[in-house]
Structure formats: structure tokens, C-alpha cells
């Protein structure tokens, strides 16, 4: 039981709670909701246990599905995001990235932004693809993905800034 583990549990519960209580009622233009709860997956320690992350993401998504009666769409999106996270790291921070030094919850640099952007887009695309589940709504899926991603991105960045660890 180290402090990282406890921090993650705390983050899991807190993000899930604010998602359900606040952000699910956002309903901008009646149908656009941000999903900043995926910050849990993004902020998970870079050198943390991969299987732990996969399992935690799965249950995070499953809880979201329970609260929004959506079957397994959030779970699928979260698990996929968790699985591809190392690849996104590699893409955003370059091949020479050193796992130990990459920190997401710090000052916003182009690398960090591109990482957040790709992650959010991937998660939302899978989420809306599975939620709507019909190809006749193709443009609707893209539109929702795009608009929701903007909101999620803004909220994610603001939340990171809000809870940024104090500089020593």
C-alpha cells in the first residue's frame, strides 16, 4: 500500500463521482456531454502496472455504464484507451521518450496537448460509435465525437491545472 496506489483509488472515486453528479448533466445544446473522468487513465503513472491500469479502466468504464444505462460502451472505450496509451506516449513525446520523466499533470506543452487530444478523440470515437451503433448516423457520430472532445479537452486541462501538485 504505497501513496501512489491510494492516490489512484482516490482519483478513481473522485472523478467518477464528479462525472456522475456534475458533468453528466452538462447537456450543452441538449446532447453534448464532456467526459473528463478519463483523466484517471491519462494520469495513471507512466511506469505503473499495465494490467492494473487495464483492469482499473475496465471497472471505471463499467461503473459509468451502470450509471448511464449504456451496456458496455464506456468500458470498451476506457479499455481501448488504456491499451493504446503507451503508443500515444510514444507518438506524442517522440521515440526518445524516457518513461520515468514523462509527467502529464504539469505545464501544458505541445507534446502534452497532443497526447491529451489523441487520447480524448480515441476514447470518444469508440464511445459514440458503440453507443449509436448504426452506420446511418455516421456524421452524427463524428459531430458528437468532435464537439464532446472539445469540452472534455478544456475540462481535462482545467482540472489538471486546478489539482497541479505544488512546485517545490
Amino acid at each position: 500500500m504505497n501513496s501512489t496506489f491510494l492516490t489512484n483509488i482516490f482519483r478513481f472515486i473522485l472523478l467518477l463521482a464528479i462525472q456522475v453528479v456534475i458533468f453528466n448533466h452538462f447537456d450543452f445544446l441538449k446532447y453534448i456531454n464532456p467526459y473528463p473522468y478519463i483523466l484517471f487513465i491519462l494520469l495513471y503513472p507512466v511506469n505503473g502496472n499495465r494490467y492494473g491500469l487495464l483492469l482499473a479502466s475496465f471497472f471505471l468504464g463499467l461503473f459509468m455504464d451502470m450509471f448511464s444505462d449504456s451496456g458496455g460502451v464506456h468500458a470498451a472505450g476506457c479499455v481501448t484507451l488504456a491499451y493504446f496509451r503507451p503508443a500515444f506516449f510514444k507518438f506524442s513525446f517522440g521515440l526518445s521518450y524516457e518513461y520515468q520523466t514523462v509527467r502529464i499533470n504539469d505545464r501544458l506543452t505541445p507534446e502534452r496537448f497532443s497526447f491529451l487530444l489523441i487520447s480524448v478523440l480515441t476514447h470518444h470515437l469508440i464511445l459514440f460509435l458503440l453507443e449509436i451503433f448504426r452506420f446511418s448516423f455516421f456524421w452524427d457520430i463524428l459531430l458528437r465525437t468532435f464537439l464532446s472532445s472539445i469540452f472534455t479537452l478544456i475540462l481535462c486541462i482545467s482540472l489538471i491545472y486546478l489539482f497541479k501538485p505544488v512546485k517545490k
Binding site: N33, L55, G61, S68, G72, A75, A76, E131, F133
Partner: protein, 259 residues
């Protein structure tokens, strides 16, 4: 490997959720989510007390006026969900979680098996229909909203008694679609749509008015946009209606299909 396993489970749950009879495991009628929504709702309820009270007072006034104006006992109330003629049991309930932003919307209400709520009961409020009960737990139940692309409700045009099916195209929360109305039906903008033959809902519960009429290119039947009387984005007190004859009716209809 773990990834594929977990992804497989979530996809399975997703596919299950897209069939009308959904997964019995992942739904918001269970104790945890129901309890959380109950807590959240009690806060929102407090904020909306005034408008809720006004709505209930307006409904009381309407019921009173029906009561006082009832000239003879043969005339029955027309659009009154509380009209109990022993065939119907009405259970008072409240929406504790509303959803209207996705394509398959479900509501959660705070009554369940303990109060006699069972799947396939109709849910209405003072303005019109809301949905059909889907899954029940002891104290909570989920409701398939009329704003659900899988929802199919029997409806008719009040004036001409032409029957059709009420569906939703997933686009606008204020409008649902009435499909399969024969071309010979004389319809015009502004006509009232009510629930059809009594099965899940009693007959003649109001739904909305015709907003736009067009002809379906495939079936050559009328399709209409119906403007809902209900504001589905703001729901409070609802009534769950049990039709005691529903099983008998459905048995009979099933017999006809078999022959």
C-alpha cells in the same frame, strides 16, 4: 490478452444493450446507482420545488374541472391518466435520473418491485406519456424513454382513429415520429396524437401534436413529426400504470399470429 478479454466483455455488454431486452447486470436500477441517484435527485428536487408544485396544482385543477363538469356517468374522462376503472392500477413515482442526450435513453424511477412495478408497465405524467418500464429491482426501475430509438409505442390520430407506431429518430428531444399511417388518412398539421389500443397504456393518453407530415420513400406511408406535449428534459412526478388485462390481450394476439 487481458486487453482482448476485457474488450470482448465490454463489446458483449454493448451488443446486449442494443437489443431491446437488455443486460440484467449493468443497469442503473441496482442498489448502488439507485441510491446515488436518489441522493442527487433529492437535491435537484429541492431546487425545483416551485415549478413542481405549480405543475401538480395545475393537474389538480384539471382533474377537478373534469370532476365538476361530468354531466352524466356514461361519459368517461378523455385524457386522464388517473382514470381508474379497475382495469388499471396507478402507482405514484418519481424520476430520479433523466437522460435525453444519447440515442438510447433510459430513465430511473424510485419505485420498484416492492411497490408492484413490473416490466412493460406504462409510465405517464400529467402532460402525456413518458416511457415503458424495462428492468425492475426491489426499490428502483429503469424506464425506456420515448426518446429511445428502440422504443415502439402504439399510437393513433385522435380524430380519425388511424393507428401507427411511435418511434424516435434520435435527433430532437422535442419531437418523436409517428410512422406507418396509411395514405388515405386525412391528417393535417396540429392534429392530436394519443396512445392507441389499450395494451401497455390505456387508450387516449395524450402524446403530442402533428408538426410536419411527409411520405416515406420506401413504404409510401405517412411519417409524421410529432411535437411532444411533455418536455422530456424536465421530468418530476410520474405515474406507473399497470393494465391488468395486458397479458390476456397479448395472449389473444399471439394466438392470432400462430394460426
Amino acid at each position: 490478452m487481458l486487453f482482448l478479454l476485457l474488450l470482448g466483455i465490454s463489446l458483449l455488454l454493448t451488443i446486449q444493450s442494443h437489443s431491446y431486452h437488455r443486460s440484467k447486470v449493468i443497469n442503473s436500477a441496482n442498489g448502488i446507482t439507485g441510491g446515488v441517484y436518489e441522493k442527487i435527485h433529492s437535491f435537484y428536487e429541492f431546487m425545483n420545488l416551485k415549478s413542481e408544485n405549480e405543475g401538480l396544482a395545475a393537474e389538480n385543477a384539471l382533474l377537478k374541472s373534469l370532476l365538476y363538469n361530468q354531466s352524466d356517468s356514461i361519459n368517461k374522462f378523455d385524457q386522464d391518466p388517473l382514470n381508474i376503472e379497475n382495469d388499471y392500477v396507478v402507482i405514484q413515482s418519481k424520476v430520479i435520473k433523466n437522460s435525453y442526450s444519447i440515442h438510447e435513453n433510459f430513465l430511473t424511477i424510485n419505485t420498484g418491485r416492492a411497490k408492484g412495478v413490473k416490466p412493460f408497465m406504462g409510465v405517464v405524467n400529467s402532460k402525456g406519456i413518458v416511457g415503458i418500464v424495462d428492468i425492475t429491482s426491489k426499490n428502483y426501475a429503469t424506464v425506456v424513454s420515448v426518446l429511445n430509438t428502440k422504443s415502439k409505442i402504439n399510437a393513433k390520430i385522435k380524430k380519425s382513429n388511424h393507428f401507427g407506431t411511435l418511434t424516435w429518430n434520435g435527433k430532437n428531444t422535442g419531437f418523436v415520429q409517428l410512422i406507418d399511417i396509411p395514405r388515405l388518412a386525412s391528417v393535417k398539421r396540429g392534429d392530436t396524437i394519443v396512445t392507441g389500443a389499450q395494451s401497455v397504456f390505456p387508450e387516449n393518453i395524450s402524446i403530442g401534436t402533428i408538426h410536419k407530415i411527409y411520405i416515406d420513400t420506401e413504404s409510401n406511408l405517412f411519417t409524421m413529426d410529432v411535437k411532444l406535449f411533455n418536455d422530456m428534459t424536465s421530468l418530476g412526478h410520474v405515474y406507473v400504470i399497470e393494465n391488468k388485462n395486458r397479458e390476456e390481450l397479448e395472449e389473444l394476439e399471439a394466438q392470432i399470429k400462430d394460426e
